[in-house]
């Protein structure tokens, strides 16, 4: 008994410390809701820096005073009302574009009274059957100036019959309103985002035919796993001539053998370890104002009410990378995150009928860097024969050089018709060497048994910075699709 008790205390102490530590580096400010049902589904920064919020019930507000240090100074000014579940805003040429249930709409205030008075239907070529799960996300503009919208598939009854283009990503020319169907196989694509250079990525929620939550890059003519949208391939505008239906039980890494259009994800989010329902995301465009992760991607989770961090790199023409925990403890499942003009991240929340962490049904919060540098893995790059880890601070060379301070295993997933799926074909990956480089800024791990098509889960215990700081989040999950030759 004597030996067990201290261990228990240590574990409890660690977890408490981890929470405190996140708080030390990134502070959550909570805005009062002023009695409004702020179930936020859309959140964006307009060109003048103002923050626009959209709620599930279709209200659109400006969050005025959202940059004040004291969050209590916020007030909400109504801009529009009565939209059908807007789940994304994008400002373009003086209009705010939004994907509603049934259409892509642009709205503006034409008479300058502060309220939108024109709601123009840009495109309503996709259909809805009246099923609750037919959410639409976006739009986001790609490098060609086209607007991408991802279309959720229905789940359950469809009162007005089967609707076309559900489970697709489409893009729309904002000038003509023409819809160009791009990809299918999407399940519940709750986040769609354009990278700073106009590449389009989306997040998908695990379930049937999407057996692990993921982040994927989108390009025309691809298939992402869920067969629901396949019947629409027969319609005019479909990019597919021929596309086979997936067979349940195939390893996703092998799917391209039977389905040439199959696209592997950029990042898998292993179930529960990295949330359950990835949603909105945003690139760190703060140029360092938000801390050490400029250029990286933050992905929110609607179940875990937290924000994760993703490092992406393009390898052999494929976007892939690693995900890390970043900041937990928001008051409700997160739908949208967006950077403001001052390098703070605005976070919009709604549980919208789903369970999740947090004690509120909705919320509007703000995340700010305290200015203290956390000790974190900054990047995890794949190299021939291993990974190169970089850190936000110089490491303690002795600790970082010991291979026993690293543990790695790899696993993958099958594409299956059942809901969710386990980690499959798990094997340990042995660390042959840990080489400290660049005066402690980087560590090169040489491995035995790297496998393409597998998540490589790395746990770094006992790693400390030169200044004695513990590694804030010692786990990293790299989705290795391509190994450099």
């Amino acid at each position: 008994m004597r030996r067990i008790l201290p261990v228990l205390f240590t574990v409890a102490g660690l977890s408490a410390a981890a929470q405190n530590s996140e708080d030390e580096f990134y502070r959550i400010d909570t805005f009062p809701d002023r009695g409004l049902k702020l179930e936020i589904g859309a959140l964006t920064k307009l060109g003048d820096g103002s923050i626009l919020l959209g709620t599930r019930t279709g209200d659109v507000f400006f969050a005025e005073g959202a940059y004040e240090d004291d969050p209590e100074k916020v007030s909400y000014r109504k801009y529009a009302r009565g939209l059908a579940q807007p789940l994304g805003f994008l400002e373009h040429e003086g209009w705010v574009y939004t994907a509603q249930r049934g259409e892509l709409t642009r709205m503006r205030d034409s008479d300058g009274d502060g309220k939108a008075d024109e709601f123009i239907t840009v495109c309503d070529d996709w259909e809805i059957s009246g099923n609750y799960h037919e959410y639409n996300f976006g739009p986001r503009m790609d490098k060609d100036g086209k607007m991408w919208v991802t279309l959720n598939k229905p789940f359950g009854g469809q009162p007005y019959g089967r609707a076309h283009w559900r489970g697709w990503a489409v893009r729309i020319d904002p000038r003509t309103g023409r819809m160009e169907p791009m990809c299918t196989g999407l399940r519940s694509p709750a986040g769609v985002e354009a990278s700073p250079d106009g590449e389009i990525f989306y997040t998908d929620n695990q379930g049937e035919w999407c057996n692990a939550s993921k982040l994927s890059h989108l390009a025309k003519g691809e298939f992402h796993g869920h067969p629901h949208g396949l019947p629409s391939k027969e319609l005019a505008g479909s990019p597919f001539d021929q596309i086979p239906s997936p067979k349940s039980g195939t390893y996703m890494k092998d799917l391209h053998e039977t389905i040439p259009q199959w696209k592997m994800p950029a990042v898998w989010f292993p179930y529960n370890k990295m949330g359950k329902s990835p949603s909105g995301m945003c690139w760190d465009t703060s140029g360092g104002g938000f801390g050490p992760f400029a250029g990286q991607l933050f992905v929110a989770d609607q179940h875990h009410a937290w924000v994760m961090r993703v490092f992406l790199e393009k390898v052999e023409g494929h976007w892939q990378g690693a995900c890390f925990r970043f900041r937990e403890g928001f008051q409700c499942g997160i739908i949208r995150v967006a950077f403001g003009k001052d390098a703070s991240m605005f976070v919009g929340m709604s549980n919208a009928g789903w369970g999740g962490r947090g004690n509120k049904g909705w919320g509007f919060q703000r995340l700010r860097w305290t200015g203290k540098l956390p000790f974190e893995v900054h990047s995890m790059k794949v190299q021939k024969g291993g990974f190169l880890l970089t850190f936000t601070k110089p490491v303690d060379m002795a600790a970082a050089g010991r291979v026993e301070n690293y543990a790695m295993k790899s696993y993958t997933y099958k594409l299956e018709s059942r809901y969710g799926g386990p980690e499959a074909d798990t094997q340990p990956v042995s660390i042959k060497s840990a080489e400290v480089l660049e005066e402690g800024r980087a560590v090169r791990l040489t491995l035995d048994g790297m496998r393409a098509g597998y998540v490589h889960e790395l746990v770094m215990s006992n790693l400390i910075a030169r200044d004695g700081a513990k590694l804030l989040h010692p786990e990293a999950y790299y989705t290795l699709v391509k190994i450099p030759r």
């Binding site: 049902k37 009302r81 009565g82 037919e134």
Partner: protein, 905 residues
């Protein structure tokens, strides 16, 4: 016994009038014929005897025919056999009894029984709804005016079933309306019948029928408030029995505004503390032996509420109630007690409630003797019964002296009635009044004045028991105490005692008088008085309505107040806080007044004439000494100066203009909105435009609600205006709560559906069928292009069909009688517009008719006006599902066309 006789007779001028009243109430002229005008305007016919044998016991008939003045002292039925020798008399009566019993073939025992609780409930009703205005209260009263219409030996006469049916509609049997309808519900009539026949219970105490397992349920559809309704006053839409308390019976078609009630005998297995639970959305209650145990009343989301009570093992009365207003409908009930874990109440503890059996006192069944029936039939005709009682195929010839030849003190009018004349058991005073009436026979051959006709009606129907007119009548002191209020509100005498009728024909519009006198409107609307305004039957009171109008109407009553929007807005401000605060004592369109919930402002304009209203506002006390309505314009000078320039006429007309909006009245400042869940959309100050899933419209509905309480739904999939309705707007919780998956219907009333297909189409030939629309079809009516909001926040929908750009603006337009919906269309043909045959469909229906005023009547639901900036040529044609009102449009490239469709309910 003729109640108003004493009243008229007491008037120095009224002796002849009292006699004339008797001539009508005793139906003298059916034997003593009179040609031309008579002083009798409303004759009381005797009860209809068809099927009398099925509802009255032979024993009662026998006793009543033998000695009617003893059995029912004060009856207006004369004794026909007073001069017949005892033996013959008995034989004749026996034959008549057999004949009458053969009409209907004998009385069956009653399916329904009674209980002490029902007696109590019936007693309350008897003494509150107005019965005792004519009949005697249970505790006899004394003093002048204490006389009452006798009930006779009811307990020996009939059964609970028959008396219940009679009370529900007395005019079926007593057509002359002296016994009026009191607008009782089925439950109320049953309770009242049990009370009136309570002696039948005494005889058979201890006798109980075997308990049958089950639950008695009732289902009600009615507009509901925010609390459980008063079930006793409602008549069930459906009722039946079931094995257990089940909410989901499969027939609740509507999602809101319904209520259910389950009653059973609960067999409790053990003494102890029993806890009952309900889980409900919205309100529910559990009563045991009449006492509430669980109270979860009110509009709320899913909520579990429990309550406990000590119960002895054995039978207890269980009464479970539920109502659904908005949002989801959820209901469940359970219990927990000694050795019984929390669970639904098992069916083996539930038994059908049944009262103790009740049957007529002293009743013995009788074998009908056909020979006696034949003899009785002859007597019925020869004795003159058929002069007063209608019975198909039986008519008595008058045979008596004509009215003009009648001699006072002879025949029926003798102090000792001769054997050949019927004995009415008249008093000396009655005989002298009749004599007076006979003396004036010649003078009174002149047509009566309207005032006289009114007075005679008020006397015949005993309106004077409750109402005063011209200083005559009104409740006397012995009965005043029976007039009360339904709830604890202090409205003084005004809230208890029915109003005086001094200016009735000037005050009320003709249609309002008709609604009140024939259809029980005051009962339906009267929220305060416990006494009900009964229904006397249209055929009985038609002359009264005409006479009221002729006697009282003043030339300026119906003067046209020109409707003016600004003036109505003044009126709105005046009635609210910041004005005269009329809303302290007046409800507004169903919303509670701030103080005492008095007469609803939205209902006044339907009833009152404008002229009377203006005079009343100037000096309310002149019309009703006891009124609590303040005089805001004493001496014609406005006491409140801020609105309408302090001008009396402008203020009063403003209020009238505002009242003329009726149901669609936008609420005045300060009034509380009606209840409902937080997700109910309420367009209070500006329109509300909201996208939603909607029943019958689809997943892309856009609803627009207006403060004028007229609303529309647009379908962006088919591209058409789909619905319009009035009253409350829309509950957004279908897509604003849970997982946003519910389709809801409008909350309001008067829902009118526009044609199911597109609003516009190109027809190759005028006879080509209108495009039909399937559930998943889209863009049939054009390509939806969105909407913009005007500076007032009203939506203008935009769509494009074959190169024609269409804008439709639906909006309410205020006008007297309530807001109407105006659909304003603006069409612009593009440069490349080449298609022919553009047609608009204004309405579909089973009956579409053009009226003289240029409007189109559609299915008696709405009237429609079509007006355009070019000549519109609407026409009706046969369509696939009925008639179609088509409007062909001609447009060349670049042309613009505007037109309006106005829709009035």
């Amino acid at each position: 016994m003729v109640p108003a006789f004493d009243l008229l007779h007491g008037d120095p001028e009224g002796k002849a009038a009292a006699g004339e009243l008797l001539l009508g109430e005793l139906n003298c002229l059916s034997c003593h014929e009179q040609q031309g005008d008579t002083p009798v305007v409303a004759t009381k016919r005797a009860p209809d005897l068809s099927a009398v044998g099925a509802r009255v016991t032979p024993g009662y008939l026998r006793r009543f025919l033998s000695e009617n003045h003893e059995v029912k002292p004060g009856t207006t039925m004369p004794d026909l056999f007073h001069g017949t020798a005892a033996g013959d008399r008995q034989a004749e009566v026996e034959s008549l009894v057999h004949f009458l019993v053969s009409q209907g073939g004998g009385i069956q025992s009653s399916g329904r029984g009674g209980s002490a609780r029902l007696v109590e409930r019936g007693r309350d009703l008897y003494h509150s709804v107005g019965c005792v205005s004519c009949h005697e209260p249970e505790m006899p009263i004394e003093g002048p005016g204490a006389s009452a219409i006798p009930l006779g030996e009811l307990a020996a006469k009939t059964t609970v079933d028959h008396l219940t049916a009679f009370l529900l509609d007395p005019l079926k049997i007593r057509r002359s309306g002296r016994m009026p309808r009191l607008w009782l519900s089925e439950n109320e009539a049953h309770a009242l019948a049990v009370y009136l026949l309570r002696d039948q219970l005494k005889n058979q105490s201890g006798l109980k029928t075997k308990a049958e397992p089950g639950v008695r349920w009732e289902y009600f559809e009615a507009p509901l408030g925010d609390r459980l309704p008063d079930f006793e006053t409602l008549t069930a839409t459906k009722r039946g029995t079931h094995g257990t308390i089940t909410f989901n019976m499969g027939f609740q078609k509507r999602r809101q505004d319904f209520a259910m009630r389950w009653r059973a005998i609960l067999k409790v297995p053990k003494d102890g503390k029993w806890t009952f639970f309900t889980v409900s959305d919205d309100g529910s209650q559990v009563l045991l032996n009449g006492e509430p145990v669980v109270d979860s009343d009110g509009v709320h989301t899913r909520k579990e509420v429990s309550g406990s009570v000590e119960l002895k093992a054995g039978e207890h009365e269980l009464d479970v109630r539920y109502f659904q207003k908005t949002d989801s409908a959820i209901f469940g009930v359970g219990w927990q007690g000694p050795d019984v874990p929390k669970q639904r109440i098992p069916s083996w503890n539930l038994f059908l409630p049944r009262g103790n059996p009740m049957s007529p006192v002293g009743h013995e069944t009788m074998v009908i003797d056909q020979q006696k029936v034949a003899g009785g039939a002859k007597i019925f005709v020869n004795r003159g019964c058929a002069s007063c009682h209608s019975l198909p195929g039986r008519e008595s010839s008058p045979g008596a002296n004509p009215f003009a030849d009648l001699v006072p003190d002879r025949g029926c009018l003798s102090a000792n009635v001769p054997a050949n004349a019927p004995d009415y058991n008249l008093s000396q005073v009655q005989r002298s009044a009749l004599k007076e009436a006979l003396a004036l026979r010649e003078e009174r051959r002149e047509p009566l004045t309207a005032g006289q006709i009114v007075q005679k009606h008020l006397a015949s129907f005993n309106c004077y028991a409750c109402h005063q007119r011209g200083g005559l009548g009104g409740p006397d002191d012995s009965r005043r105490g029976f007039f009360g209020t339904k709830m604890e509100i202090d409205l003084g005498e005004e809230g208890k005692i029915p109003p005086n009728l001094d200016t009735a024909g000037s005050k009320f519009r003709k249609e309002a008088l008709e609604r009140i006198l024939y259809h029980g409107e005051m009962h339906v609307r009267g929220r305060f008085m416990s006494t009900r305004m009964p229904g006397f039957g249209k055929e009985n009171l038609e002359p009264l309505v005409a006479a009221f109008l002729e006697a009282d109407a003043r030339p300026d009553d119906a003067r046209a107040v020109e409707f003016n929007y600004g003036s109505a807005r003044d009126g709105q401000a005046l009635v609210g806080t910041g004005g005269l605060v009329c809303i302290t004592c007046h409800n507004v369109g169903g919303r509670q007044a701030v103080g005492i919930p008095g007469i609803d402002l939205a209902e006044m304009q339907q009833r009152l004439t404008p002229g009377w209203f203006v005079r009343f506002l100037h000096n309310p006390q002149a019309f009703n000494r006891d009124t609590r309505m303040p005089a805001f314009w004493p001496g014609g000078v406005a006491s409140f100066k801020k609105i309408a320039g302090g001008d009396t006429n402008r203020q009063v007309e403003g209020i009238w203009n505002y009242l003329s909006l009726g149901k669609s009245m936008p609420p005045p400042p300060g009034i509380a909105e009606e209840g409902g869940t937080g997700s109910e959309l309420k367009p209070l100050l500006e329109p509300v435009v909201h996208r939603t899933f909607m029943t019958d419209v689809g997943p892309r509905a856009i609803v627009a609600g207006f403060p004028e309480r007229v609303h529309v739904a647009f379908d962006a999939n088919v591209t058409r205006l789909a619905k319009t309705w009035r009253g409350r707007f829309f509950d957004s919780s279908g897509v604003a709560s849970g997982r946003s998956d519910k389709f809801f219907s409008p909350l309001g009333t008067d829902i009118y559906n526009f044609p199911a297909g597109p609003a516009f189409a190109f027809l190759e030939t005028p006879a080509a069928p209108w495009p039909s629309v399937g559930r998943t079809d889209r863009d049939v009516g054009g390509e939806f292009q969105g909407y913009r909001l005007t500076s007032n926040g009203e939506p203008v929908f935009q769509y494009q069909l074959g190169g024609c750009f269409i804008q439709e603006q639906p909006k309410p337009v205020l006008q007297p009688g309530g807001a109407v919906l105006q659909r304003h269309f603006k069409l612009r043909a593009g440069k490349d517009f080449a298609r022919k045959g553009l047609t608009f469909i204004a309405a579909t229906g089973q009956a579409i008719e053009k009226r003289d005023d240029g409007s189109w009547a559609v299915d008696k639901k709405v009237s429609l006006w079509i007006e355009g900036n070019q000549e519109m040529q609407p026409s009706v044609r046969e369509g696939s599902g009925g008639l179609e009102l088509m409007v062909p449009l001609s447009l060349a490239p670049g042309d613009q066309l505007e037109f309006n469709i106005r829709i009035k309910w």
